[in-house]
Symmetry: D2
Amino acid sequence: METRATDEQIRAVCERIASRSLQTHVVRGSLRTAIAVTGNSGAIDIGSLESMPGVLECTAVSKPYKLAGRDAHPESTVIHISTPLGVAAVGGRSVAMIAGPCAIESREQAFTIAECVKAAGARLFRGGAYKPRTSPYSFQGLGEPGLKILREVREQFGLGIVTEAVDQESLDLVEVVADVIQIGARSMQNFSLLKRAGRARKPILLKRGMSATLDEFLMAAEYIMAEGNDAVILCERGVRTFNDHTRNTLDLSAIPAIHRRSHLPIIVDPSHGTGQRRNVLPLARAAVAAGADGLLVEVHHAPEAALSDGRQAILPAEFAQLMAEGREIAAVIGNTLS
Amino acid sequence: METRATDEQIRAVCERIASRSLQTHVVRGSLRTAIAVTGNSGAIDIGSLESMPGVLECTAVSKPYKLAGRDAHPESTVIHISTPLGVAAVGGRSVAMIAGPCAIESREQAFTIAECVKAAGARLFRGGAYKPRTSPYSFQGLGEPGLKILREVREQFGLGIVTEAVDQESLDLVEVVADVIQIGARSMQNFSLLKRAGRARKPILLKRGMSATLDEFLMAAEYIMAEGNDAVILCERGVRTFNDHTRNTLDLSAIPAIHRRSHLPIIVDPSHGTGQRRNVLPLARAAVAAGADGLLVEVHHAPEAALSDGRQAILPAEFAQLMAEGREIAAVIGNTLS
Amino acid sequence: METRATDEQIRAVCERIASRSLQTHVVRGSLRTAIAVTGNSGAIDIGSLESMPGVLECTAVSKPYKLAGRDAHPESTVIHISTPLGVAAVGGRSVAMIAGPCAIESREQAFTIAECVKAAGARLFRGGAYKPRTSPYSFQGLGEPGLKILREVREQFGLGIVTEAVDQESLDLVEVVADVIQIGARSMQNFSLLKRAGRARKPILLKRGMSATLDEFLMAAEYIMAEGNDAVILCERGVRTFNDHTRNTLDLSAIPAIHRRSHLPIIVDPSHGTGQRRNVLPLARAAVAAGADGLLVEVHHAPEAALSDGRQAILPAEFAQLMAEGREIAAVIGNTLS
Amino acid sequence: METRATDEQIRAVCERIASRSLQTHVVRGSLRTAIAVTGNSGAIDIGSLESMPGVLECTAVSKPYKLAGRDAHPESTVIHISTPLGVAAVGGRSVAMIAGPCAIESREQAFTIAECVKAAGARLFRGGAYKPRTSPYSFQGLGEPGLKILREVREQFGLGIVTEAVDQESLDLVEVVADVIQIGARSMQNFSLLKRAGRARKPILLKRGMSATLDEFLMAAEYIMAEGNDAVILCERGVRTFNDHTRNTLDLSAIPAIHRRSHLPIIVDPSHGTGQRRNVLPLARAAVAAGADGLLVEVHHAPEAALSDGRQAILPAEFAQLMAEGREIAAVIGNTLS
């Protein structure tokens, strides 16, 4: 309450809180009086309290996510992804490598890269058939023919498929082909899409929005989980800051911070997180060292000819090097990368 | 090019550019060589060039928006909104006031507020039937019954209706009732929704995303316009920064900056832009003084009982004061507020 | 406290708080226990508490500024600046216009601009003799000869002088000549300089740091006031964000937010705040409309020949227009600009 | 130039550029004309050009740092720090560990921590005698008695000393005792202090400002180097963003980005970079994996009793673990940590 709040104002606030069947605890300091609220199961709309006379500020102490939070679910969740060659684990002590091109451009392109990805020892293949692009004039992905190519990659190489859905329509199609459905950063608060993902029967890879706090990120996961889908893999992919030396600022502190708040696994996308090939390996290694549960990396055999994001794709040889270095670094902290 | 780029590398870059039917202009400095590119109609995917050997950096000089940009359309666009009592203009020298509650909560609430809004002299009523909320456990709007109330407000008070669509399904319903369809900040890069809005036959009020640059904002407008809908009203509503004294940081420099880049009108939402009732009037006046083409303001007769965002709604008396002050300030720079 | 904090951990925290002669109030919720602390006069170093076992988070409720805060000093402070032609007021209902070039370049330049500034009706002249520049190779100001020119401007035109000190040495010299000593944004947390400014016998114009929160800003004012100088004028000049369309993002919400927290006047610098001449007038008008206690504006008669920051200086005719528009807008909210 | 720039305007710009003895290259595109400028040795003040009629935008292509940049100094610089027990190297393939308390609190505290630091195998001890604090009421460091304790630590344990100077006066004293003089984040653009540091005969550890771009960071190093001191160690310590889960956002992409732009070594401070003990080890490991040339870590044997920043200090056992893990991770990329 404000310094000059009257007893009547304090009483009025307490009454309003009590009218919602919550408990109040009045704490009188030398200058101010505080009112603690307990008994709530979930978030309170503090706005309506904050606009009452005499109220200075309302501060939420409890976190509003019940399903995604670690409070009610202390042990870490391990997501098991079915691939033709067995189950790949994300979380716990398993660090999963997911690699492939930004966009599926052709059968030949996808197969060439899938071969490199598999040869280097990874078990999950990424590649977009539906691409959210800033400009309506940019390549928007192959769509269904792209999904068909992904299905062939899955059969031919035995790799699990991770690919993005951008709306309800594409999610219906992606759900059939993919082993993991990706929800992109720009869709993190597309709540209709999150609810639909919550009704899908495949794990969801949810990317952090460009300027999402961790609370907002976990609330987006909560939207999915509240619909019944518990298999959510979180993905840090860089946030927007004043920095101009990278496309986004990769926030690796999100790894321990998410691990503390949530039982869900958190992986890192150093490709979008930096936007520059030269920075991908250093930041990918850093993510593993910080305890990430996986990496999502763009690989292209001819990045200068890529139809999207060529500047951030690493070459097959660099990817093989990353697998080797990542394995060693993971081992230092007791994790296993594959 | 890098300082140590070889002639061969320079030649290779020029050849790749030429292979896309673009012109190259080699500029040799004392330390570096630059290659200027011309002849493009629209953006070039600079990523593929940036990953070529010897290339230091690629910089886009031309802006990628053709329809939203002022270059090909020098005169300012005025959007005409049909209301039961005639046409309301946004843009040019007309500053439009759009006011109402965050969410439609009941027929009584909507009517009470609509009466205040009309009495103060505004002609456009805002109110959400579909609310994108950070938490799945928060009030998500009344949905279709909310739209029905808005239709009654329109008939009863003669106010034009501005209301939000959150997905394709809600847009289908909103399009029937609304005079202006709002696309929220979280949907600014929901490209499927933008394309659908581009096929709607009503003006679109497009809010700036929480961390969108002006180029991204105008590219989102371009998505709508590329589908055939030229009636786009842009709306600055605050961006996310390190500031912790307001919910968002209202970026009023976006007003002159948008006016310079684009012919579209730009209005300001000081309610979301600050998140606090006490700041709404000062910032609303400031927006008008900076040349905004309109205001989108939350008004509530009983904000402490509001189901959402009560902390940022102003009271009817404050709204009447804002109308009066806004008119005077608009007049100082030759604009007319109504 | 954490959900799983033991009674013993709670007791240990209470004991440590009590050992500092503070009161504890234990608030038990259904899931967590909170401990409220009262009796402190000033900030507590919460870090040492936060590292105790079982502690989840410490949140400061009271603000740490005693002298700058409005709590203990409810009425707004008006700063009176002595000029050869009488006293100029900043704060209360007086909006002070401070104008002049970024840097003093020559006697002729300073006199030409001072004449325009005076003719337009302003009473305070700004101009730097010491310039903090990002590059060691840029023009760093004329130094003492610049101060001599400022003294002549004061005598010749009767304008009060506002000029910057960058270190203790320059402050010694500036203090003799200036009517207001400016501390720049980069020096906002140069605590040695702040303490020296607190011992000066002239009012201080303190600019907000590029990424300072309002609490940090007011704590910097507190440093000055704690040394005995109560005459502090705060100045918002834009903060650093992801925005790339202006040099900084002018945060006009700081005006009502500072007015709420502090009794000190807050003025606005739209020149540094936007970095572009085209945006200065719109944002300057906006600042007045939002209730600013003054403006600090760069004016140059030949900006394309300026030795620093020419891109953001307005022309004399634009300045005269700003004075006229500013007066009218100030009047709308009951203020007087001069 | 703007789309509608006239030939006369283009000519005027070229003439002004030529009047500074620079070369112009006019590049005519289908819509716009660009003017490339060469022949400059150092930055041009583009502001004065940008305010000429017809000019749309000026973009700097060359980097303004000559001494700090890698262009003129391709091989990486290794800084050699003299300690009583020999030379410690920072840079090249040597990763230097610098550890100790935030502030020197007493002889006993310093000795206890120095013993742990040495036992774990580090050779450089950090500890502040002069502390820049946000509040004038916080502990400001022991001052000269603190320096005396540091001198004893040096003699007793043979550790090299890294300690901060906050103004010219303290730098005079620090220079005598320290093996490395630290310039803090808040002083990164205290240009008087940088110039003084440039005249010191000890290596400088320069911390990145809270919202400094890498160009500004390297220009600050340039200030030091321009005065004759080439031994500058850069330090990333987190930048200010919208993130609220850590005190600052540690920007590990600065490591490869600095290595690309500059020959100077770059180390990382994960203690200030995260502000929370729990995040220090993960981020410290990450920094080593990303190729950092060193770590600056806060260690305290009794952090809950620390006079400043206790919440971010790690315990001696954690430090020993970090030394072990750091060594292994450094080895993966061919570096040696000590």
